[in-house]
């Protein structure tokens, strides 16, 4: 389904998602028409779903970032769905992941400062349904963030 040309295109695109098709073609060593056709093919097959702008929340005044690792009460059949539905309503929640392991759900949460975090934690997080255990990891620094895969 994928050949080396597709991989080459995606590798270049991963490194620089904002690149123009002409530049991409040049870097992948293709002529622009071929490159464009390949991109269309990747989109049609649903492999390339698009690109999302990355917002630097720190620049918008959100200086606190926390990973909340949640264990849910699994005796409640709807625990995951109820929890996720309510978590989605909190604007400061940026990510919701579910897991197989010790942790059931992780929430990526931002806050303006520690006082704001404390308010969010008390009023919005602790009131989420079916939590049996909760632990927080405070982010200090991002060391690597490119989120690329080795194609």
């Amino acid at each position: 389904m994928f050949d080396d040309t597709d991989r080459r295109i995606l590798r270049q695109l991963q490194g620089d998602p904002g690149i123009s098709t002409a530049q991409l073609a040049e870097r992948a060593g293709l002529n622009p028409a071929t490159c464009w056709r390949r991109l269309e093919g990747l989109r049609e097959r649903g492999v390339l779903r698009g690109a999302h702008a990355v917002i630097n929340w720190r620049a918008l005044g959100y200086s606190v970032e926390v990973s909340l690792r949640v264990t849910l009460d699994k005796t409640v059949p709807q625990a995951f769905a109820d929890f996720a539905a309510r978590a989605r309503e909190i604007p400061e929640v940026l990510e919701i992941q579910t897991f197989l392991g010790q942790v059931d759900v992780r929430l990526g949460l931002i806050a303006r400062d520690l006082a704001h975090y404390q308010d969010l934690y008390r009023d919005k997080i602790l009131t989420l349904p079916h939590i049996s255990d909760l632990e927080a990891l405070m982010h200090i620094a991002r060391i690597k963030t490119d989120e690329t895969v080795p194609l």
Partner: protein
């Protein structure tokens, strides 16, 4: 106004919302969405980039279709704190291609890693050969991701 002095109005917020859905939107499409001319929309986007608020783009790929079926979040505790240089660990862990993100955290673990692999067997190879052999690695806790949602945030 927020503490960093970057003032956003409703139009800026609408632009950020639109671009976080689709970073590839042209200035003319963006302008139409938020009720601005193309040059005005372009100037706004430039301003958001200059202020460091728009920080590039993230490609949305179907990783499973590309053969990366497994994503694992690892909590890593450094075993010999004080004796191992954090910089050495960070450099070595960042060089592993399967490691997508590295975050220094405060809490039960020292680092949070997002690792992608072809399957569980491949993940085990990465874990044993590359991560467990890093300088200073102590306790490691692994959680295999089942689903992920990204939300647009407080805009």
């Amino acid at each position: 106004m927020n503490p960093d002095g970057v003032d956003l109005d409703d139009v800026d917020r609408a632009l950020l919302r639109a671009l976080s859905e689709d970073a590839g939107l042209s200035a003319s499409v963006l302008g139409k969405r938020v009720g601005l001319s193309q040059p005005a929309a372009w100037r706004r986007v430039q301003r958001l980039e200059k202020a460091g608020i728009l920080a590039g783009a993230r490609l949305d790929l179907d990783l499973a279709a590309l053969g990366f079926g497994v994503t694992v979040f690892l909590g890593v505790k450094l075993g010999t704190k004080g004796r191992v240089s954090l910089a050495d660990f960070e450099r070595a862990v960042s060089a592993i291609p399967e490691v997508q993100t590295v975050e220094h955290v405060l809490g039960l673990y020292d680092y949070r890693l997002r690792v992608t692999a072809r399957d569980i067997a491949d993940f085990e190879r990465v874990l044993r050969r590359r991560i467990m052999t890093l300088p200073g690695v102590g306790n490691v806790d692994a959680n295999v991701m089942l689903s992920e949602e990204r939300l647009r945030g407080p805009l």
